[in-house]
């Protein structure tokens, strides 16, 4: 399988904290890779480097074989928008927008017509078991519902890679299973690569492959 995204020998320090010391990771299309490790080991930092949110101090990140870690900030932002999707543990929905508009954001940002984007968002919400959530604001959703809305937003623009940092971190196990099932199904169906950061074995069990990070190295 040709690698979709690779990170090689990544280093990153925050002041005197050396968060990454030669970590690396490869994801293929449709593959789900879990990144596990103790707290403070550098999992989230690795994810941010791979997702071109921050630039590593050393090492390289390639998407489809092209380097992306050394691109200018603006280009990286555009790349995240068009190629990646993100799920964070909580609080990522724009509180003033109803669920459907939150989901439709990536399409709208890409310049798609409003009506078509919202229709697609409603489809996704239905697919994720939230047919009635479209007009509700994030504050009126439960934690599990909000995470499913976030998942829909991460997937709607058919990204190449979805980065999920503790996507179930704020959920109970039933809701967590529900979110993970949906993520895995959608990734398989769309052949989306998934980088899944978690410290719960129960969640990492959904992955095709598990990478252990310890003291900033993987």
């Amino acid at each position: 399988m040709a690698p979709l995204l690779t990170g090689v020998d990544l280093h990153k320090a925050f002041g005197r904290t050396r968060a990454l010391r030669g970590a690396g990771l490869t994801v293929a299309a449709g593959e789900i890779v879990a990144v596990i490790g103790p707290s403070g080991s550098g999992k989230s930092t690795l994810l941010r480097c791979l997702a071109a949110i921050i630039a590593p101090d050393a090492g390289e990140v390639r998407l489809d074989g092209r380097r992306i870690d050394d691109l200018p900030d603006r280009t990286r932002t555009g790349l995240r928008r068009s190629e990646f999707g993100f799920v964070f543990p909580f609080g990522q929905l724009v509180p003033e927008l109803p669920a459907a508009e939150n989901v439709a954001l990536p399409l709208l940002l890409a310049g798609a017509p409003r009506r078509r984007s919202l229709a697609a968002a409603r489809d996704w919400l239905t697919r994720l078991g939230l047919p009635d959530a479209a007009d509700r604001r994030p504050a009126d959703l439960s934690g599990g519902e909000a995470q499913r809305v976030a998942l829909a937003r991460a997937l709607i623009a058919r990204p190449r890679v979805v980065f999920a940092d503790e996507p179930t971190g704020a959920l109970d196990s039933v809701a967590a299973d529900q979110v993970m099932d949906l993520l895995v199904d959608a990734a398989r169906a769309q052949r989306t690569g998934v980088v899944l950061v978690t410290h719960e074995p129960r969640v990492s069990a959904y992955a095709d492959r598990t990478v252990l990070v310890r003291d900033g190295a993987a």
Partner: protein, 670 residues
């Protein structure tokens, strides 16, 4: 009982600790609350003491109007003949009064212990000094200098006043002389000061409104953060009342510091005001610039109370992570625009200060609804994501949005009202004098009486119900006028019996020549009013335009502070979702556009509405005196636009913070 007080004490202490050690955000909130309250308190006290000073002055110089005010209470057994005429020296106003006792016990004006006898003159110290410097001036006040007018009868210590004693026979022949029975003029009888006090009161209201908005905005900055902190307290077992106490304590600390600073600022500011501010020709004495102690006490207690109430109003009663104001209430309805319409109507009906007050309140009450309209318009006009988010944000919490832009809207309202009512007062008269020409309003003297004043080149006018009667070509010799001009009439014959209205006398333009002519006029026609191009236009309202401008500027600056505080607060509250959006590939520019669009759309609509309300208020206020109505000039409009632009720029100054605050690598999962 002691146990309960002790517990409350501990909760208060907790509030104190949270406020003082709550990090940078708490510090900023404390600072903004304090600054807002300080500004409000200082301003209110200053406005009130200015009003006291004006009233005091009105009471002291009311006697000068004894001949023109109808119902003067009698305070003496006998009467006196009296006339006060305004005069000028080199543009400085001067009052020349004539008096003749009609019995042994005539009324005596304040500042004198008796009336000057025929042949005696009472001088104010300022005038006496002036005559020492210009001895020729003395001839205008014939008589022995025997009496001094004390400050009790002077508007300010430098005022130029003379009271000339005459025999009743002298004065009986003079037009406009009145028999008076007292000089105890009540300020309420003085129309000018009444209008001025109403204006002062109105301006105090206008100035205070944006300050209140600023205080509320400041104390509600990042109310969301506080809400979550209080939620944590409640989870830890604190009762609703206890969390309320914690919240109130935090605000009260800021307000208490603010009140103290405001009080100190007021003490300094009233000295500065007394030293620098010239009102109607003279400084306001420091002793007059004061407020009654109970008002001070009320302000010092009331301001923090108001602040705490404002902060607690719709206060976060924490239920969860719900951002404040989201989906908790139905939006504002069109009904909220009612006071905005009712205010000007009240002004029309004659209740000026009340009407103005209600209009200001109306702008504030209707503001959120106007913001909702602006949001809808934004959503309709533009399809982009930034405008979508901006529109939704406005709709979600129009109250907060309005508090941010409301100050600027109030500034627009105030500028419009002031610009449309007082502008006329400082406009040059429509017939400006040519250089060196002296204008004499003879008050209807005969041609024989003015014969001695007619020099070569002098122009006489008659007077009829149509105004001046004079050929335009003649008039053009002495004033700047383009012919044909409306008051065009027959040349006035200088036959002895003809009644003269105005007399224009050319001089060589020197002060000495002007003074000599004034003295001659005063001798021949004591009631004539003489003006030259040295005299200030819009007599009595000198400096008012500057005052109005300063007031508008102040409101604008306070409004801009609200705007910045509001923008900062909005940023602090939306930090996390914005950071996530950036991580997901939303450009910083797009987030900036969200903030700018939100501000610009709501500010434009509320400002336009405030401008309309201002025009209406100004029109209504000047209805009884249409001469004061003055539709805004292009310069006023340009100034207004520039001010709004400046406010927007100031708000934009907060935008560079958007970058660091929403840095996607700073998303923490606390």
């Amino acid at each position: 009982m002691t146990g309960r007080t002790g517990r409350t004490g501990r909760v208060v202490l907790l509030g104190v600790r949270l406020a003082l050690t709550g990090g940078r955000e708490a510090a900023i909130r404390l600072l903004l609350t304090g600054a807002g309250v300080a500004l409000g308190v200082a301003l209110m006290l200053l406005a009130l003491s200015a009003q006291t000073a004006v009233a005091q002055r009105a009471e002291r110089i009311g006697w000068q109007d004894a001949a023109t005010v109808e119902q003067v209470p009698a305070d003496s057994a006998d009467a006196a003949l009296f006339l006060a005429v305004s005069d000028y020296h080199d543009g400085t106003p001067m009052t020349r009064a004539y008096v003749a006792a009609l019995g042994p016990e005539p009324p005596v004006p304040p500042g004198l212990d008796r009336l000057p006898q025929p042949g005696e003159v009472a001088f104010s110290p300022g005038l006496r000094t002036l005559i020492a410097a210009y001895p020729a001036l003395g001839e205008r006040f014939p008589g022995r200098d025997t009496l001094t007018i004390t400050p009790d009868g002077l508007g300010h210590t430098d005022e130029l006043v003379a009271v000339i004693g005459r025999t009743p026979a002298d004065l009986q022949a003079v037009r406009s002389v009145r028999e008076v029975h007292g000089f105890g003029i009540l300020p309420s009888g003085n129309a000018f000061f009444q209008v001025y006090r109403a204006l002062l009161l109105t301006s105090a209201v206008i100035l205070l409104a944006p300050v209140v908005l600023l205080v509320v905005t400041a104390s509600r900055i990042s109310a969301g953060r506080r809400a979550s902190r209080l939620a944590a307290l409640r989870l830890a077992g604190a009762t609703r009342a206890q969390t309320a106490v914690v919240a109130a304590t935090e605000t009260a600390i800021g307000a208490a510091v603010g009140v103290l600073l405001g009080w100190l600022a007021y003490l300094v500011a009233r000295r500065v005001l007394a030293a620098t501010f010239v009102f109607d020709g003279g400084r306001l004495p420091l002793d007059d610039l004061r407020v009654r102690p109970w008002i001070v006490a009320a302000a010092l207690v009331g301001a923090p109370l108001l602040t705490v109430l404002a902060a607690a109003w719709r206060s976060p009663v924490p239920t969860g992570s719900r951002p404040p104001g989201l989906g908790t209430r139905g939006g504002p309805t069109a009904w909220t625009a009612l006071p905005l319409a009712a205010g000007p109507a009240l002004v029309f009906a004659g209740a000026r200060p009340l009407g103005a007050l209600i209009t200001v309140v109306g702008v504030v009450v209707a503001g959120p609804y106007l913001c909702v309209l602006a949001g809808r318009g934004l959503a309709r006009l533009s399809r982009g994501v930034p405008s979508l988010i901006a529109a939704r944000r406005i709709a979600a919490d129009p109250g907060t949005t309005f508090r941010a832009v409301g100050g600027v809207a109030l500034a627009a309202w105030a500028a419009t009202v002031l610009g449309s009512t007082t502008g006329a007062l400082t406009q040059p008269s429509d017939l400006p004098l040519r250089p060196g020409v002296v204008h004499i309003d003879t008050g209807g003297a005969s041609a024989a009486a003015v014969a001695a004043l007619v020099s070569p080149g002098a122009v006489l006018t008659g007077r009829s119900f149509r105004g001046m009667e004079v050929p335009c070509a003649d008039l053009a010799q002495v004033v700047h006028v383009t012919c044909p001009h409306r008051p065009d009439g027959p040349r006035v014959e200088s036959t002895p019996g003809a009644v003269i209205g105005d007399l224009f006398v050319p001089t060589d333009g020197t002060l000495a020549a002007e003074n000599a002519l004034r003295t001659t006029v005063a001798t021949l026609i004591p009631n004539a009013i003489v003006n030259s191009d040295r005299d200030p236009v819009g007599d009595g309202f000198t400096g008012q335009r500057g005052l109005a401008l300063a007031a508008c500027l102040f409101v604008l600056v306070v409004g801009a502070c609200s705007l910045t505080a509001g923008t900062l607060g909005a940023l602090a509250e939306r930090r996390r979702p914005f950071a996530v959006l950036r991580a997901s590939g939303v450009h910083l520019g797009e987030l900036r556009r969200v903030v700018l669009l939100e501000t610009a759309a709501t500010m434009t609509l509320t400002t336009v509405a405030a401008f309309g309300a201002g025009l209406l208020t100004a029109y209504a206020m000047t209805r009884t005196d249409p001469a004061q109505w003055h539709p805004p000039q292009p310069t006023t409009l340009a100034l207004l636009a520039a001010g709004i632009l400046a406010a927007l720029l100031l708000a934009a100054a907060a935008l560079p913070l958007l970058g660091p605050v929403t840095r996607p690598d700073s998303i923490r999962y606390e």
